[in-house]
């Protein structure tokens, strides 16, 4: 069962080769065996998962099976799931049992998918290595001395280690694509507004977007069929007819115009990674695509802009964690001010506090125009670069991350180095565009990802382009040795 695609699992359930309870139990056993070595999950609740599986078996018995009915899915601990601890990787929410379901969770529940558990993540999704989690760092199944990337490191490690068939993740500056790249997976960050943010704990509201993390583009398409769709509970959710992402997934891509931004191949990119990306480009040429050089001249500004906008929004979004209504409250305090300041000192980790401070600073009186407003203006410039680029190509291709998985601890004490991990991914979040990462090779036995960036709402196209690649290559089928 370990290597089956979502489609194969779905068919297996349909043909009664195994039940959802058996399938769920199988993966729970894998968790028993392997989770302690990679720390991919924060919460595992076997009784709850098995109860859901039992219910799914009923649905299947009644003949109402959907594509994902009965299939266990790992859920990033950023999604509120009623009755489940939902910590967002933070001590602040270590005691928080979510009182409601996020829309993403509701949608999985509605089709009878099984919640396999809540995956580890960087605290409040702030990080690129999964080292900021209150629950300890996650290890990359490809080499447990290296990081899985972040912030969706738990989801990435869980799927890469085949502890879960598929997982949900979120991406504010690259948090789906970079860990997908570092763990040899296919991950999609959809267009902003395509997947509801309701119940997904906010980091930077104007950038956050949820998406799937799977082995293949086809699996991602099946996940997207469940996750996407308009939600009246999220004002920023887009009103748009629901698509079936599986329909055109195998359409030929002959004549496809792939734009390669020269800025993505400059200083900072590991030459070995660059070679692998070139290999991917050649593969697409063979498949009949046309390659054109394009330019995203303001891409280098995306990191500075991001580190104004994201912390600014985060500083405000995280003000609700004050120890009054839920979550952590410091044990000793003499007055209200002390309760606030100590609760937040003790409840948040270093990186989160750092970003709250930066965000507070850039919004404060006298600095707003120079930082926040300026960043919003450059955000538009970055977004317009893409608009121009898409006049000359159908899709943009480049690396997902500048390097392969790096050793745990290597960048932890140097935020600036860490921030460079997202140099190729952040601009799409700023523009609100969809981006996908898929495995395209190995460097020193570690996976390298190719990133595809599409125009707004071109998810179906991106998945199609990735799927054609995967039909002709084998990188997505590789697994780390100890987890086979």
């Amino acid at each position: 069962m370990i290597n089956l695609s979502l489609k194969e699992l779905s068919e297996g359930l349909k043909q009664k080769k195994f039940s959802s309870v058996e399938l769920t139990q199988f993966f729970l056993n894998r968790l028993d065996l392997h989770n302690s070595s990679i720390n991919a999950f924060i919460t595992i609740d076997k009784d709850k998962s098995l109860a859901m599986a039992k219910h799914s078996d009923e649905i299947i018995k009644e003949g109402n099976q959907d594509y994902l009915t009965g299939i266990p899915i790992a859920q990033k601990d950023i999604f509120c799931a009623e009755g489940w601890k939902t910590s967002c990787g933070s001590k602040m929410l270590d005691n928080f049992i979510a009182p409601y379901d996020s829309t993403v969770i509701s949608k999985f529940n509605a089709v009878g998918a099984v919640n396999l558990g809540k995956t580890n993540m960087d605290e409040f999704a702030m990080g690129s290595s999964n080292e900021t989690s209150f629950y300890g760092n996650v290890k990359n199944p490809w080499d447990i001395k290296t990081v899985p990337g972040g912030s969706s490191g738990g989801s990435a490690a869980a799927v890469a280690g085949r502890l879960a068939p598929a997982a949900t993740a979120t991406d504010t500056g690259g948090s789906i694509r970079q860990p997908a790249s570092l763990c040899g997976l296919t991950g999609l960050k959809p267009t902003y507004g395509l997947v509801s943010r309701y119940g997904m704990i906010a980091f930077a509201s104007s950038l956050d977007q949820a998406g799937p993390m799977c082995h293949t583009a086809e699996d991602c398409a099946a996940m997207m069929n469940v996750m996407s769709g308009h939600d009246p509970k999220d004002s920023t959710s887009i009103q748009r007819a629901k698509e079936n992402y599986l329909t055109g997934i195998s359409d030929p891509i002959k004549g496809l115009k792939i734009g390669v931004p020269r800025e993505f191949f400059s200083e900072g990119l590991d030459p070995e990674v660059e070679k692998i990306i070139e290999g991917g480009i050649n593969e697409y040429k063979k498949l009949g695509a046309e390659i054109v050089e394009i330019s995203l001249p303001n891409n280098h500004l995306s990191i500075p802009v991001y580190y104004v906008i994201a912390p600014a929004e985060a500083s405000s979004n995280l003000s609700r964690y004050d120890g009054v209504r839920y979550g952590y409250r410091t044990k000793e305090y003499d007055d209200l001010m002390e309760m606030y300041c100590k609760t937040r000192e003790e409840g948040f980790g270093e990186e989160v506090k750092r970003r709250i401070m930066i965000g507070t600073y850039v919004l404060s009186a006298g600095y707003y125009d120079a930082y926040y407003l300026k960043a919003q203006k450059i955000r538009r410039l970055i977004s317009e670069d893409f608009k121009k680029a898409f006049e000359n190509c159908d899709v943009i291709l480049g690396p997902s991350a500048p390097s392969v998985a790096f050793p745990i601890g290597e960048k932890k004490e140097d935020p600036l180095k860490m921030y460079m991990q997202d140099v190729y991914t952040i601009s799409t979040n700023l523009a609100g565009l969809p981006g996908l990462s898929m495995p395209a090779g190995l460097m020193n036995e570690l996976p390298v990802g190719i990133q595809l960036i599409g125009n707004y709402f071109s998810e179906a196209k991106l998945l199609n382009i990735a799927n054609i690649f995967q039909m002709n290559t084998d990188w997505h089928n590789l697994s780390p040795e100890e987890f086979k």
Binding site: F79, C80, T86, C88, L93, F96, A98, P99, Y100, S102, R197, Y198, G199, M200, I201, A202, A204, S205, S206, P232, K233, D234, S235, T236, A312, E313, S315, S316, L318, S319, R320, D322, V324, R325, Y326, L336, Y340, T360, L363, S364, A365, Y368, Y372
Partner: protein, 476 residues
């Protein structure tokens, strides 16, 4: 030294909606603490705001009522500060682009009118409440009110006395109820004023430093607080002191103002556009629809009453003093009662009776349809005005038909001329001395004779008819 007072007012009006501004929780007052604290009110991780259409409609109605520009495009912003009754750690409000732009409101000061400029009005959410005295050193937080829609209405500093401030507050209070956007309940805090007060030397152009008196929820307190504050500022300045810009509270028990301790530190609210809410776009079409559904405004109704119905300024003010009175009046008119009689009956008999029993006109036991029946009996000369007052008292809170009461009390006027003439002749015969007095030029005797006739008819004769007949007889 002569001083000038400069006053501007920010009013928080709670909008009359069923649900909160950004969630589907009830806005009902008086429930158990936190019974209406839904997921959004509690600011749970991951919840998001969705704007209530009715709150927007209320803002549009207000904008139209003060002749303001309704912003085609407005923005919600976050005002960041920590307070236990503010669950998100920020209040969603409007900062740079409010929904309602510049407008104006005209207040009456005796015989004079003054126009107060409205600077802006913006939508925002209310905070919860801190409850004190539960346990020593602790406060309780009730979030039922958190997220209730407010329209904050901000004036230019156009008022120059406590009287003007009160006149403005009253006028605004009347208007927001008139257009149905606020229930006006001040005890429950649904209409609260922050009053900015400063003083400057007479003739000085530059404004003085202002102090803001927070949360005044009665007209009396506005008057007292402003009077106290003005004296305080003038005394301080005359003693050579300076005024520090600050936020102050009025204590109704002592009648004094004091600085708020929690606001001592300089605030830096770090406003920025709320990424969870998109630009609010209001189409001209929507504005037109709302406009077409709106009642005429008090000022429009007043000028109509004066011009078309010939009411005095004073009476027209009385009828348009609030929406319930106006509605009662409108209903009377719908039964084809004359405007003048309707006005007289509302402003005199009905008002004094309502005042006596301390009842609101909305809850008057005598409904407009029944009062209309009574007034129509005066108009068709079935009964006299005096007789009608007797009927009014009888039917006030009794379920009796007007005509039955007239019958029962025998108040129907005698309209048969012969019958009246018979009575008249008898009276003239019995009072020859009076007739002589009249003929010798004493006009008073004429009225005395009418009185005799009325008495003899037991009040059933029509005084006008008697007067005419008597005149005819005496000039024969």
């Amino acid at each position: 030294m002569e001083w000038e007072v400069v006053i501007g007012i920010e009013t928080h009006t709670q909008l009359k909606t069923e649900s909160k501004i950004f969630s589907g929780a009830s806005t009902n007052f008086g429930s158990e603490p936190n019974a209406h604290a839904c997921l959004v009110s509690l600011a749970y991780p991951g919840v998001l705001p969705v704007l209530n259409e009715e709150a927007v409609n209320c803002a549009i109605r207000f904008g139209l009522a003060v002749d303001a520009r309704i912003a085609e495009h407005s923005i919600f912003a976050r005002k960041n500060y920590f307070y236990p009754d503010l669950p998100k750690g920020y209040q969603i409000s409007q900062f740079e682009l409010p929904v309602v732009g510049e407008g104006s409101l005209t207040i009456s000061l005796g015989d004079e009118n003054k126009t107060i400029r409205i600077l802006r009005a913006h939508l925002e959410e209310d905070a919860g409440k801190s409850v004190h005295g539960i346990e020593e050193g602790k406060s309780g937080i009730d979030l039922n009110r958190a997220g209730t829609p407010l329209l904050e209405i901000v004036t230019e500093p156009d008022m120059s006395s406590a009287e003007e401030a009160v006149a403005y507050a009253k006028k605004l209070h009347e208007l927001v109820q008139w257009i149905g956007i606020c229930d006006g309940n001040m005890q429950e805090g649904n209409f609260r004023c922050d009053v900015n007060v400063s003083v400057k030397k007479k003739g000085e152009k530059k404004l003085g430093t202002r102090r803001e008196i927070k949360n005044l929820n009665s007209f009396k307190f506005i008057k007292q607080a402003v009077d106290y504050e003005v004296n305080w500022q003038i005394e301080r300045l005359e003693d050579g002191g300076t005024i520090k810009q600050s936020t102050i509270l009025f204590d109704p028990d002592s009648g004094e103002t004091r600085e708020m301790r929690s606001k001592e530190e300089a605030n830096d609210y770090r406003y920025f556009p709320d990424p969870d809410l998109l630009p609010l776009v209001i189409s001209q079409e929507k504005i037109n629809t709302i406009k077409s559904e709106m009642y005429e405004l008090p000022s429009q109704m007043k000028s109509k009453l004066v011009k078309e119905f010939g009411l005095s300024n004073y009476d027209a003010d009385g009828i348009t003093s609030n929406i319930d009175v106006a509605n009662f009046f409108r209903e009377l008119l719908s039964f084809k009662v004359s405007a003048k009689l309707a006005t007289n009956w509302i402003l005199t008999n009905l008002f004094s009776r309502l005042n006596e029993s301390n009842i609101d006109i909305k809850n008057s036991p005598l409904k407009a349809n029944k009062l209309a029946e009574l007034i129509l009996r005066i108009e068709d000369k079935t009964i006299s005005n005096n007789a009608a007052k007797k009927v009014f008292d009888e039917i006030w809170d009794q379920d009796e038909k007007v005509d039955d009461v007239i019958e029962k009390l025998g108040l129907k006027q005698i309209s048969n001329v012969n019958e009246v003439e018979d009575i008249l002749n008898q009276v003239l015969q019995d009072n020859e001395a009076m007739v002589e007095e009249y003929k010798s030029g004493k006009d008073k005797a004429f009225n005395a004779l009418i009185g005799k006739v009325m008495k003899a008819s037991k009040g059933k004769a029509n005084p006008g008819q008697v007067s005419q007949l008597l005149k005819d007889k005496l000039t024969d």
